[in-house]
Amino acid sequence: MSSITDVGPVAATRTDEGEARQPRKPRSGALLGVAAWLIGILFVVPVLWMVLTSFHSEEDAATNPPSVFAPLTLQGYRQFFGVGTGTSPWPSLLNSLTASLFATVLVLLLSIPAAYALSIRPVRKWTDVMFFFLSTRFLPVVAGILPIYLFAQWSGLLDNIWLLVVLYTSMNLPIAVWMMRSFLAEVPVEILEAASMDGAGLLLTLRRVVAPIVLPGIAATSLICFIFSWNELLLARTLTGTRALTAPVYLTGFVTSQGLFLAQMCAAAFVVSLPVLIAGFAAQDKLVQGLSLGAVK
């Protein structure tokens, strides 16, 4: 219940007002509640269906009408993980993990100092810098993909996971700079300055005052960057082949139907989505802020 109003640091303070709002007419209120439930269920059904199908046998997965109560089995998962066939998705999952984790770390290393220079000790014309960063996020990937591809081909970086790390870093940097700035802007500068004069108090201030504000910000930023990197297909599809293949590219192997493969495909889709689902539910309250580049709290 409480998670609804915890949309962000600002919204959280309104919890009390939100709770205090009176339902006007009990009956229409209950009806609207039922409507909300129905719509919520409608939206979640495809995901539930994916999960359920992944635990069915291939024969039960492809029936019409659907066999909802068919016995559950791990057959689809066994097949996806290559038991018997020998084609394992693990290299691609590990590649995705490498690309997403390293890109996230690099993003943090670059964005936190930048956000510091844009909030706590702002450079002149810092708003222009902010909007420059933002504008790069609006540049379509297809606008630069060909030169990047040619460069990778020329330098031998094609099918190299580190190229994706660099590209995912640049893809997420604007989001991270905006998010981190909105968090750092909440740090009380006076206390920081007083502490730096004081000398001994600086570390204590960093720990007691700055860390509680900035650490949740770092966590939220990391999760958003991780999700975007993990999801990316176009760059990975174009720039990797066999060695650096990522999980979304591995999934494109299921684009054309291959006989009875629905349970295996649903298992694959679920396994690949699982990290994002976990990260997303963990960062539920910070999702809006990240997706709106920090404009909405």
């Binding site: 199908t53 379509p140 030169p147 640049s170």
Partner: protein, 326 residues
């Protein structure tokens, strides 16, 4: 202020020697201070310029070249002919049209749905948190995985859930002759749109819900006490407040959806007249190796995006300034 402090944010910062109360504004001194201030910003800035701006400049140059990897000897500058080709070729013109239709339909429908659902979720009811979590779930499925599930598990004419449900409903009424449409073949673009709307409605809902929850409730309460109807409150108070959030959702959504590649690639592989600009560009350079043509189409996509982005930046900057003014 002192310059020692700015040079790093990490540990090991020595407490600076207290600066003189007002340092004489020497030019050299101020310049050093300015650079010290900029230093933490530079790595991110330089990195961004190299990785995002240089490739685009290269795209711009290549777009004026006749360059097909299959005919490496014929490389040379051709002026605007690639642009002429993009704008006159039936396929690319159709792709521009598809991109516009796809973006407008997905943004508008998911915005409207998102607003309706946000209004529902802004009320008190049992299990509100659970419904909110259910609503977010579609956004957290990896786009390729979501497109695969829609294509094979839902839209498939033989064993997809949609036709399965039709069979089941018809059998409840004693009919063994249910309609079994082939969704993707009948309405390929609509199929892609539905899967995208499913993924993007949660995005719009989240932004609009945040907007609803930032309304000044005391004013609305006062209006209600003064006898304003629910519709009047929505029309004259909630909607004007939500307007900026609607704009923000529409414009950010448009910028992401213009770039849609995954859904088109998975559901139709660009067939049945559903290839949008990102897909055509991918195909032109990755399969056909016509680098000049692909670049020209890329530049045209950027011009279109700049038009939207200018509006988006304006909206974001209004929100941004208001937030800073607080």
């Amino acid at each position: 202020m002192s310059t020692t402090l700015e040079t790093g944010t990490g540990r090991g910062q020595q407490p600076p020697t207290p600066p003189p109360p007002s340092p004489p504004p020497g030019d050299a001194l101020r310049r050093t201070a300015d650079w010290a201030r900029r230093a933490p910003l530079l790595p991110a800035l330089i990195f961004t310029i190299i990785i995002t701006q240089l490739p685009f400049v290269a795209t711009l140059v290549i777009s004026f070249m006749d360059w097909n990897a299959y005919y490496p000897d014929e490389r040379g500058f051709t002026g605007l002919s690639n642009y002429v080709n993009v704008l006159t070729d039936v396929n690319t013109r159709h792709a521009i049209w598809v991109t516009i239709v796809l973006t407008v339909v997905v943004v508008l429908v998911s915005l409207l749905l998102g607003m309706g659902i946000a209004l529902l979720l802004d009320r008190q009811f049992r299990g509100r948190g659970i419904v909110r979590t259910m609503m977010i779930t579609p956004f957290l499925v990896v786009p390729v995985a979501a497109a695969l599930v829609w294509k094979h598990a839902l839209f498939n004419p033989e064993y997809g859930l949609l036709n399965g449900t039709l069979t089941w409903i018809w059998s409840v009424f004693g009919s063994d002759n249910p309609p079994q449409p082939d969704w993707i073949t009948t309405a390929p673009l609509a199929a892609i749109e539905v899967s995208l709307i499913w993924q993007w409605t949660p995005f719009m809902m989240l932004i609009l819900l945040a907007g609803l929850q930032s309304r000044p409730l005391d004013v609305i309460e006062a209006a209600r006490i003064d006898g304003a109807s629910a519709w009047q409150i929505f029309r004259y108070m909630t909607f004007p407040h939500l307007r900026r959030y609607l704009e923000l959702g529409a414009l950010l959504g448009a910028i992401y959806i213009v770039q849609t590649f995954d859904a088109v690639f998975v559901i139709t592989s660009g067939g049945l007249g559903t290839a949008n600009l990102p897909y055509v560009i991918y195909q032109t350079f990755y399969t056909a190796h016509d680098y000049g043509l692909a670049s020209a189409a890329g530049v045209i996509t950027v011009i279109g995006t700049i038009l939207i982005a200018t509006l988006a930046l304006r909206t974001v900057s209004t929100l941004f300034q208001e937030e800073n003014a607080r």
